[in-house]
């Protein structure tokens, strides 16, 4: 009775679309008890409700009616904890797309937050001015009033020079650059390109130290996640297509693609296929070949191929594993990797989410929820009294740094330091 006739690939992939996974929910409530947002606000009925339950009331031929869905931050905790394979977060993202389409209106604020690349591109050349002005309270109040970007939300500092600019004009010409048969592709994403070029540089240093030639494809663009989570699927699909076309050439050659931004690599691995329904052979190949940088390095370590010439770091450092990273379903490679450094003690903070969830915490009406979500995390970080803390995802780092005053770094920065590369 349970066996199905063989289904062809197209039929199977349509059935596998995330909204249909609502059928699998047994109502156990595990997702709701884990949802960081539902735990702090009554405005949000929780993943079980807005996900598989509401899905049964959604007729694609009718308009969307459930605005409360918009309180889902997209952190993905629900999809990860569901023991029955219900793709709750992905389902919510699709329903939100429909909701915004029904309203025929996406706030300008969301459109702008969705364009981190454009923002970065506009900001970088004016970095010193932009960085100062964005710290001015009166200006932020004005921005909040006009655009609904909360006055206290963390604003990253623009870099003077873009990462790609540095790679093309400085690094590529540098005699120290490693050229090798062992090649790896670096997907830098917007945050490294425009705000945190130093993390990209640290990543290249660590990879090269391990004998890899690092390729940074020129035609890569923003992963599209900010647009996707602001329900601009068409724009997100364009970016996704550009990235897939760019990266698939390397994937076909058997090269792995690594990134330092856990949410952007998650887009390549999963969101393109499952939320944007771009589930073709190229997308699958790129998805298979994409690695979070720590995941990649840990695999090297496990194969005995990672250099272990670390200098000791005698410190106990708090580490927060962002939700987007856990959604990779790869365990917590950063911890295992950092623990290879002699003397180090990594203190894993027991908290699900910092609250920022990409662009969620930037929105005026959601900022307070976002801070409430992160409260326990912030308190734990403060309690360690450490000057630095570690986290893989950029917006989470900005949020935690903003809330606690603790300097935040990416795991690869710590590795670079231990290798003596900085």
């Amino acid at each position: 009775m349970t066996t199905s006739h063989d289904l062809d690939e197209i039929t199977l992939s349509i059935w596998e679309q995330v909204q249909h996974s609502a059928d699998l929910c047994v109502k156990c409530n595990i997702c709701t008890s884990f949802c960081p947002v539902a735990n702090v606000t009554d405005m949000f009925p929780g993943p079980k409700f807005v996900g598989p339950q509401a899905q049964r009331f959604r007729n694609p031929h009718e308009i969307s009616v459930d605005d409360s869905l918009d309180y889902c931050s997209g952190c993905g905790v629900c999809s990860m904890v569901c023991p029955h394979g219900v793709k709750v977060m992905e389902m919510n993202a699709k329903a939100r797309y429909k909701l915004y389409k029904t309203k025929k209106w996406i706030p300008l604020r969301n459109r702008i937050l969705g364009r981190s690349e454009l923002l970065g591109w506009l900001g970088s050349p004016f970095a010193p001015i932009a960085n100062v002005t964005l710290k001015l309270k009166p200006l932020r109040i004005l921005i909040e009033g006009i655009m609904g970007v909360h006055r206290d939300a963390p604003m990253p500092a623009f870099s003077w020079e873009t990462f790609r600019g540095w790679y093309q004009t400085v690094h590529k010409k540098s005699p120290q650059r490693v050229i090798s048969d062992k090649k790896v592709v670096f997907y830098h994403a917007c945050s490294v390109n425009y705000y945190e070029a130093f993390i990209g540089k640290a990543a290249i240093a660590v990879l090269e130290h391990n004998g890899y030639e690092v390729i940074v494809p020129k035609d890569q663009v923003c992963c599209g996640l900010p647009m996707l989570s602001n329900a601009e699927f068409d724009a997100a699909r364009q970016n996704a297509r550009t990235n897939i076309n760019s990266l698939v050439r390397y994937a076909r050659a058997g090269h792995k693609i690594v990134g330092t931004s856990s949410s952007c690599t998650l887009s390549l691995k999963s969101d393109y296929r499952h939320i944007l329904d771009m589930d073709d052979a190229d997308a699958r190949l790129v998805s298979q070949q994409t690695y979070d940088i720590c995941e990649f390095l840990l695999e090297l370590a496990q194969a005995g191929e990672l250099k272990t010439d670390f200098q000791p770091i005698n410190a106990s450092i708090p580490y927060h594993s962002p939700c987007q990273l856990r959604a990779h379903n790869m365990g917590l490679p950063a911890i295992e990797l950092m623990e290879l450094i002699p003397g180090i003690q990594i203190k894993h903070i027991q908290a699900d989410c910092c609250g920022i969830a990409g662009t969620y915490g930037y929105k005026k009406e959601k900022h307070d929820i976002s801070m409430a979500v992160g409260k326990s995390l912030f308190e734990q970080v403060k309690a360690t009294e450490s000057d630095v803390a570690i986290c893989d995802s950029e917006t989470c780092r900005w949020q935690i740094e903003h809330a606690t005053g603790t300097k935040m770094i990416h795991p690869v920065q710590l590795l670079a330091q231990a290798y003596g590369l900085t």
């Binding site: 009775m1 349970t2 199905s4 006739h5 289904l7 062809d8 197209i10 039929t11 199977l12 349509i14 059935w15 249909h20 609502a22 059928d23 699998l24 929910c25 047994v26 109502k27 156990c28 079980k48 409700f49 339950q53 509401a54 049964r56 009331f57 959604r58 007729n59 694609p60 031929h61 009718e62 308009i63 969307s64 009616v65 459930d66 605005d67 409360s68 029955h84």
Partner: protein, 541 residues
């Protein structure tokens, strides 16, 4: 013993009886309806939910097809709140005779069914999960219809004209004086009391039970029961009614109807002896899963929620006396005076849900004739009262919207089907029964994927509190409802639904220890305990 009198007594609270009651009341008759269970508990509550466009009958029975399309258009106007305007498709799959498609198309147009051919691409755009190998597709104005809302609206509207409805009253005897039927004796199944009702005229609208009732008046009527099994799939994999483009005779499991939150596939068709006892058989379930895959290739990957069956009333003409039939159509309206020499007694049986209004109109026309009066029927022009709000088509998203806008307020009790505490408490105040199944019919409590797993104990708690029930009464209400739910799941337990069942079992057996209740507290009598031991479940009356 209670005594009552009325002008016209209607027996049977299916859609036909409710329709007759409303028509009578609207034409100014004093009318009373007796139903042995709750409204729509017979065939009308166990049907496929399809408001036929007539397409299904276009080729082999153009008259029936024409009746369907006419009534389809009328019902859309008079009871829009009971109808979801899903639209329908007739699809010709690789398993279907290709030449039938053209025949079908022409036949539809002959009886004014607006069938339109669309491309396969357009079909897949509207319904992506349909079989891409389907060769031709026609759209028709099929819809799905909610029977409980419809029957409830009919009796509420009838009550506005002074009609009375008595549920849980089973007729056990028809009273005769000479060759005249003058009334009926009924037992109130909740209190055990007997009620005698006298009337000038009695209408039997008991569907498949028509033969039994007629026998109480010494009339010889043969109504066979044709069992049809259906399976509700947990997820609406299509949002349009999908019919196979085939000859309806000899084809089973060839229609998928999206209704409420589920998609129902059906039906089989098997003659049974007893309209009260007809188990669902394994081959029926298997067949339907197989047929479903021809329309939706991934059909089996979706979760089957429950299976149930209903019985079609199939009237068989009395050989030589067949010319005595008042009306020669797909349904039978029998005036027993010329037919059997029994006065003041009329039987209406057979037909379809879709044509109930027309059947009621014909019946009440006959009543007028027999009572020697002329009163025009207005049911085709009168929009029925909607107890829940405005008169517009029901939409799938409406409950979600009501919750979102605060129109439904209070705690969510049945999460799957979106039923709140306030709704339940308001409903509990309307009757003195202690039956959770009433809430299921009126509000859809317990009909979702968990099949009562998470709401039954909550509802039982509310009953205990609001109705001041004893522990025994509460336990019995809870156990009865779970039995009824679990019985429907028994035949479709595999895959994800089996996991659901195990979780539900864990809640009720493991956590609440329901199976360990001392007999005195469970409210279940010993006969039933024995039934559970042999059958795994017991029949809930």
């Amino acid at each position: 013993m209670q005594k009552k009198s009325t002008e016209v007594l209607v027996i049977g609270g299916g859609v036909t009886g409710c329709g007759v009651l409303f028509d009578l009341a609207q034409r100014g008759f004093k009318a009373t309806l007796l139903e042995r269970g709750a409204l729509s508990m017979g065939t009308s509550g166990r049907f496929h939910g399809l408001l036929h466009s007539g397409g299904r009958y276009a080729v082999n029975d153009p008259d029936a097809a024409h009746e369907c399309i006419v009534e389809n258009q009328i019902l859309r106007k008079v009871m829009p709140h009971c109808i979801e305007d899903t639209g329908g498709m007739f699809v010709s799959t690789p398993d279907d005779p290709p030449e039938f498609a053209d025949e079908f198309y022409q036949a539809c147009h002959k009886v004014s069914i607006p069938a339109t051919e669309i491309s396969i691409e357009e079909m897949l755009r509207r319904e992506p999960l349909l079989n891409p190998k389907i060769r031709r597709v026609f759209t028709v104005p099929d819809a799905s219809v909610e029977t409980w809302d419809a029957c409830r609206s009919l009796v509420v509207s009838a009550a506005e004209h002074g009609a009375e409805t008595l549920e849980f009253h089973e007729v056990t005897e028809l009273l005769k004086e000479g060759n005249k039927v003058v009334g009926a004796v009924a037992i109130n199944k909740v209190t055990g009391e007997t009620v005698t009702i006298t009337a000038d005229l009695i209408v039997s609208a008991v569907g498949a039970w028509g033969g039994r009732l007629a026998a109480m008046a010494d009339c010889d009527v043969t109504v066979h029961a044709g069992k049809g099994t259906m399976i509700a799939m947990n997820y609406r994999m299509v949002n349009t009614v999908v019919n196979r483009c085939v000859h309806p005779s000899g084809s089973d499991g060839d229609i998928i109807v999206p209704i409420g939150t589920v998609a129902v596939i059906g039906t089989t068709s098997v003659r049974v002896d007893d309209p009260d006892n007809y188990p669902i058989e394994e081959w029926e379930v298997k067949l339907m899963m197989e047929e479903g895959e021809k329309m939706v290739p991934s059909f089996r990957k979706f979760r089957a929620l429950r299976a149930w069956a209903g019985v079609r009333p199939l009237y068989q003409e009395k050989g030589a006396a067949s010319d005595l039939r008042a009306v020669t159509r797909k349904y039978a309206l029998l005036d027993h005076s010329p037919r059997d020499g029994v006065d003041n007694f009329v039987t209406i049986t057979g037909g379809k849900w879709t044509t109930y209004r027309m059947m009621a109109e014909d019946t009440v026309d006959l009543v007028c004739k027999k009572l020697d009066t002329t009163r025009a029927c207005r049911t085709a022009e009168t929009t029925l009262h909607n107890p829940h709000g405005e008169s517009k088509y029901h939409t799938l998203g409406s409950r979600l919207q009501k919750l979102e806008t605060g129109e439904f307020d209070g705690q969510l009790i049945c999460e799957c089907e979106i039923v709140t505490r306030n709704q339940i408490e308001a409903n509990l105040a309307t009757n003195d029964r202690h039956i959770i199944n009433d809430l299921r019919r009126d509000l859809r409590v317990g009909m979702g994927p968990c099949q009562g797993g998470f709401c039954t104990y909550r509802v039982a708690g509310l009953m205990h509190k609001n109705k001041q029930l004893t522990t025994q009464q509460t336990n019995k209400a809870l156990v009865d409802f779970l039995q009824e739910r679990w019985k429907g799941m028994n035949t479709v337990l595999w895959g994800q639904h089996l996991r659901q069942m195990q979780l539900d079992e864990g809640i009720y057996m493991g956590v609440l220890g329901l199976d360990k209740l001392p007999p005195g507290l469970s409210g279940i009598d010993e006969k039933r305990v024995a039934e559970v031991e042999t059958e795994g479940y017991y029949e809930v009356s």
